[in-house]
């Protein structure tokens, strides 16, 4: 019997080795959007197909509520256990050492693959000259209108407002005792900042200097004028009440329930609104945001997939990122989840061109600045400092200049402290 023991041990060891050899590599995948119902069918199909093609790799989605997404990522990254594939505020994450440079993988790809992304699009995914993410999808912001409410107010959907003055004329006609033209966003997420930036740009203003070392919200008179106009929509009675608690979710709810007639949002909001209220499908139209200067840019939010610095399987993670960035899933994301393509070889794709609203968003996006802005502390200032200033100004409009002057000083100090 005694002689059997080593043999049994060897057999068990072999079986254990064989079992572990068959264990697939597990890659965790975390983006803020996996919990969004409009995207769920797409990401599930993406994973299923990838795993079928790559039996040795399993993708494990990490479902996190949008507002907890960054926090969870940071906590995991600090413990060096961050999910391998992540979509996060790229510059901030790269600056903090949470992400892996991808140049090695990117440069090894054939030129044809690399040509699918413009330099401008890739620049949003770089930090200090190194590539930290592959842009997977984007969202160009535009003004979205409820056609029925516009028509009911005696306005012509074919002639949407082009200037702020036009917009105010429309806003007054679209507002009533229990409904409003639009919603001003002041809730505590960076969406508040996105909208504020667009209004500033629409007046020829700038929120920061060119190298992002100085804030100019109040210093630039055009910026201050835009801030006062935009936040003043609440005081003027043409924006929904409670702006300090209004964010993407509340804004789209108000629009879906026809409490507001227009909202500044991205292409994906159409899917959200149609999902919340199917009767709204086909009843929306889109136009560039009103502007006081010619060729005012809008904002395109770029979501890039990155590999976390602690990922033990970067090759497999890159393989999945490439798979997810493929044409098939780009089209699926656009059609099902209303997420715009970031590849420049998709604009003429029949599936993209066949959707007039998407085509219009793509056209509006031709004059857009990429977001997030390139600062390593962007995640903090966009969701905290700027939002706090917006909230304070909404609560005390007469102090707007003072509040944004303080913000300039606070942000400039932080930006120089990086």
């Amino acid at each position: 019997m005694r002689s059997l023991n080593p043999l049994a041990a060897a057999v068990i060891a072999c079986l254990a080795f064989s079992a572990s050899a068959q264990q697939p590599i597990v890659l965790q995948w975390q983006t803020a959007n996996l919990t969004e119902s409009q995207y769920e069918p797409v990401w599930k199909a993406t994973i299923a197909e990838f795993e079928k093609e790559n039996p040795g790799v399993r993708i494990e989605p990490v479902l996190v509520a949008r507002k907890d997404h960054w926090t969870k990522f940071v906590a995991a990254a600090q413990a060096k256990k961050a999910p391998c594939i992540v979509t996060v505020d790229l510059t901030t994450a790269a600056y903090n050492g949470y992400l892996m440079p991808l140049d090695k993988y990117w440069n090894a790809e054939p030129a044809e693959f690399r040509r699918a992304w413009s330099d401008a699009m890739l620049s949003a995914s770089k930090w200090k000259g190194q590539l930290y993410g592959l842009p997977i999808w984007g969202g160009t912001y535009a003004e979205i209108y409820n056609r029925d409410l516009v028509t009911k107010a005696g306005l012509d959907p074919a002639k949407p407002p082009k200037s702020w003055n036009d917009y105010m004329v429309w806003a007054k006609k679209l507002s009533g005792s229990d409904h409003w033209a639009t919603a001003v966003l002041g809730g505590k997420t960076d969406t508040t900042t996105r909208l504020l930036l667009m209004w500033i740009w629409s007046n020829g203003g700038e929120a920061f200097n060119a190298d992002m070392t100085e804030a100019t919200f109040a210093k630039n008179p055009k910026s201050l004028e835009a801030i006062k106009f935009y936040l003043g929509l609440v005081k003027d009675g043409v924006a929904a009440p409670a702006p300090t608690t209004t964010n993407y979710l509340e804004q789209t709810n108000l629009f879906a329930q026809q409490k507001i007639a227009t909202m500044r949002n991205a292409y994906w909001a159409l899917a959200k609104v149609s999902g919340d209220n199917p009767a709204m499908k086909g009843r929306m139209f889109v136009a560039p945001g009103p502007a006081n200067v010619p060729n005012a840019p809008t904002l395109t939010s770029v979501a890039a997939s990155s590999i976390s610095a602690s990922c033990p399987y970067p090759e497999q993670a890159w393989k999945f990122i490439k798979f997810d960035a493929g044409k098939k899933w780009t089209v699926e994301r656009a059609k099902v989840a209303n997420w715009m393509p970031t590849r420049n070889d998709m604009a003429d794709d029949p599936a993209i061109k066949s959707d007039p609203l998407l085509a219009q968003f793509v056209q509006i996006g031709n004059n857009a600045r990429s977001y997030p802005l390139p600062s390593p502390i962007w995640a903090e200032i966009a969701a905290n400092d700027i939002v706090d200033a917006v909230q304070k100004a909404l609560l005390a409009p007469e102090k707007t200049e003072e509040i944004f002057t303080d913000l300039d000083a606070r942000l400039t100090k932080k930006l120089k402290d990086v």
């Binding site: 507002k67 960054w70 926090t71 940071v74 906590a75 990254a77 600090q78 060096k80 901030t92 600056y95 903090n96 050492g97 949470y98 229990d178 002041g186 809730g187 505590k188 929904a240 009440p241 409670a242 702006p243 300090t244 608690t245 509340e250 709810n253 108000l254 329930q257 409490k259 610095a309 502390i377 995640a379 903090e380 969701a383 905290n384 939002v387 706090d388 909230q391 304070k392 909404l394 609560l395």
Partner: protein, 275 residues
């Protein structure tokens, strides 16, 4: 036992203190001595948050104790359905704070929330109220939710205290002609005095380090009106990525809680109870 204490208390505390002496940026850090403390203590945001924390704590503890005691007295007087009522009143305390806060967040939603709907339907208000949209209302709302959640614990303690008061004392007071208020003033309160102090101290410790309800409902907004110290700590660490400063805030918060804890321990030490 000592090893266990080291693992779950001393090591995390020492690590937090060490972190408070570092300038942490993501995965890199360097020693900066007391710089984080200096920065925190000269930052208006800290003193503002401390003020909000103290106001929130005092308001909530006073209401917890007052309402908790009143409810305990009410239930103690009942002859029927005491157990059922006890369980019913305990429900808010049993619900996870984040879950309760999320429920209230939707109840208080300005346009589609049930609270505004009921108030408007009853003709009490003419338009929707932004419960979490202005500093005063937001503060009152989160305090109200905290009271909703915190009262049952005090009620439970008081019920236990009431059960220990000898009935003879009430009978003697009745014979002496004492009315309801006098029985409460001269029999109930003196007997509950010690328990009230203990409950208040424990409640202060619990409330001042409270994060979840405010974190979920307002995240400290609007414009910092509800940014209590734990929320400031969280925002500094996870939104601001300034872990060193956040650790310094944590250590300062710990000192505040520690002061109340020492008071509590001194109050409840056995030799004092024997006296």
């Amino acid at each position: 036992m000592f090893l266990f204490l080291c693992a779950v208390v001393l090591f995390p505390l020492a690590h937090a203190f060490w972190t408070s002496l570092l300038r942490v940026r993501g995965l890199s850090s360097r020693f900066v001595g007391a710089e984080n403390y200096q920065h925190v203590l000269t930052d208006d945001a800290f003193w503002h948050s401390l003020g909000v924390s103290l106001t929130f704590t005092v308001a909530c503890v006073v209401l917890h104790i007052g309402i908790g005691l009143a409810m305990a007295l009410l239930i103690d007087e009942l002859r029927f359905a005491r157990t059922a009522l006890r369980i019913a009143f305990l429900t808010p305390w049993m619900v996870a704070p984040a879950v309760g806060a999320t429920i209230w967040l939707w109840l208080l939603e300005p346009q589609f929330g049930v609270v505004n709907y009921l108030l408007q339907a009853a003709g009490i208000v003419s338009g929707p109220i932004a419960w979490l949209g202005t500093p005063t209302l937001a503060f009152a709302s989160v305090a109200a939710v905290d009271v909703w959640r915190g009262v049952p614990f005090v009620m439970l303690l008081m019920l236990a205290g009431l059960a220990t008061i000898p009935r003879e004392q009430y009978e003697a007071a009745a014979i002496d002609g004492a009315g309801g208020w006098q029985r409460f003033r001269y029999v109930t309160l003196p007997n509950l005095r010690y328990l009230l102090i203990v409950a208040s101290t424990l409640d202060i410790i619990n409330t001042i380090r409270h994060y979840d309800i405010i974190g979920v409902m307002t995240a400290g907004g609007p414009a910092g009106a509800t940014e209590v110290l734990p929320v400031l700590l969280y925002n500094t660490a996870f939104r601001g990525n300034r872990f060193g400063e956040a650790a310094a805030i944590g250590v300062l918060l710990l000192l505040i809680v520690l002061a109340f804890s020492i008071f509590h321990i001194r109050l409840t030490r056995p030799d004092r109870g024997a006296r």
